[in-house]
Amino acid sequence: MRDDMAMTKNVRRFLAAVRELTDRPMGVEGMAILWGEPGEGKSTTVAFACNTLDGIFLRANTCWTPTSMLSAMMVELGMPVYGRRAPMVESAVKALSERPRPIFIDEADYLFKHADMLDVMRDIYDVTGSPVVLIGMEEFARKVQSRGKFARRITQWVEFCGIDIDDARTLADTLCEAKVSDDLLEHVHTAARKNIGRMVTGLARIEQFGKLNALCTVTRKEWANRALFYDQPRFAKRRA
C-alpha cells in the first residue's frame, strides 16, 4: 500500500473551505464547521490540513473553562501561560496578528458548556481575523445553528459523509499498488458500507492477492468470494 493521502471529495471540500477562509476578501466572515460520523476520516484530514496550513490544533474537553482554553492556546503558540485571562487574550491576539494561523478546535461541543468560551473565541477571531474551524458531531452543528450571533460568523459548513464510487476509485488508485477492476471495486464499496477505513483494509487484501498471483488487474471473478475484512465470525444459534 502506498502512504499517500487520498484526495476524496470530503478532503478536497474541507481543504478548499479552509483555504477560502484564509484568502477571504474583506467583510467576509472566517469561521467554519466540520461535522461527521466517527470513522469518516475527520481526524486524518484535520491533521493533514494542520500540517499543510501550519494550523493550531486544540482539543476541547469536558473540564475546559475559558482560562484552560486560553492556556492550551498559549502552549500551542509557544507563549508563557498566565493565571488570568486578559493577559493571555492579549498575548494570543498579538501572536496571531503578527502571524495569522487557522485554529482548529476538535470536540467543539464542549465550548457550548460555557458561554464565556464562545465569547472569548469570538473576541480573538474578531480582533485577529484568524480562521477558526470547529469540529464535532452532527448535533453540534445543530446547536451552532441555534445560536444566531455565533452562526452568523460561520461561512463554511462542511459535512463528512460516506464516500461514493468515484471516491472509491480515487482511493484505490492512490493507495493500492495492484489495479482493481470496476466490478470488484463496486463489491468492496458495497461490502464496506461506504466506510473509508474498511475500504482501505479490503484494498490491502486485494493488493496482496494480486501480488501473490502476479495479476496486473484483480477482477471480481478472480477474487471470487474471498473475505475482504477481518470480521469476527457470526455463530448461528445451536438447535436443541
Partner: protein
C-alpha cells in the same frame, strides 16, 4: 547531560517533516506509521526512524492486538508523553540525544 559545560540542546526547527510528524502524533494520539506518512508528507523510513527513537525514550508506546502479516493492518502506536508543540531533541529522563539509547530505561530493565 554529556557535552561541554553550559551547552544547551539545539532548538527543534519549525516547518520540517519531523515537526509535521510530531504534530500529527499530537493530533491523532493513536496512530500507525502509515497514518503519520499520509498526514505529514514524510517518507516511511523517516517516520519509522523518528518513531523508533521516541519509543526507545518512552514518548511513544505500542498498542496491543497486532497480528503481523495481515495486509492493511499496521502496528498501533500511542503518544504517551506530550511535551508541547516542539518535538523532543533530548530525552527528558536521561538527557541524551534521541538517537542514543536511553540509560534510564536500561537501568530499570537491569533492576
Amino acid at each position: 547531560m554529556p557535552g561541554i559545560k553550559g551547552m544547551t540542546a539545539a532548538a527543534p526547527r519549525q516547518g520540517t517533516l519531523r515537526h509535521n510528524i510530531w504534530r500529527s502524533m499530537r493530533i491523532l494520539r493513536q496512530f500507525t506509521v502509515a497514518d503519520l506518512c499520509r498526514t505529514s508528507g514524510a517518507g516511511r523510513n523517516n517516520v519509522r526512524k523518528f518513531v523508533k527513537r521516541l519509543e526507545v525514550h518512552g514518548y511513544v508506546t505500542q498498542l496491543g492486538d497486532y497480528t503481523s502479516g495481515r495486509p492493511g493492518v499496521y502496528r498501533g502506536l500511542r503518544l504517551v508523553k506530550d511535551i508541547g508543540p516542539n518535538y523532543p531533541m533530548r530525552c527528558e529522563r536521561c538527557g541524551r540525544p534521541l538517537g542514543e539509547p536511553c540509560i534510564k530505561n536500561q537501568e530499570e530493565e537491569i533492576q
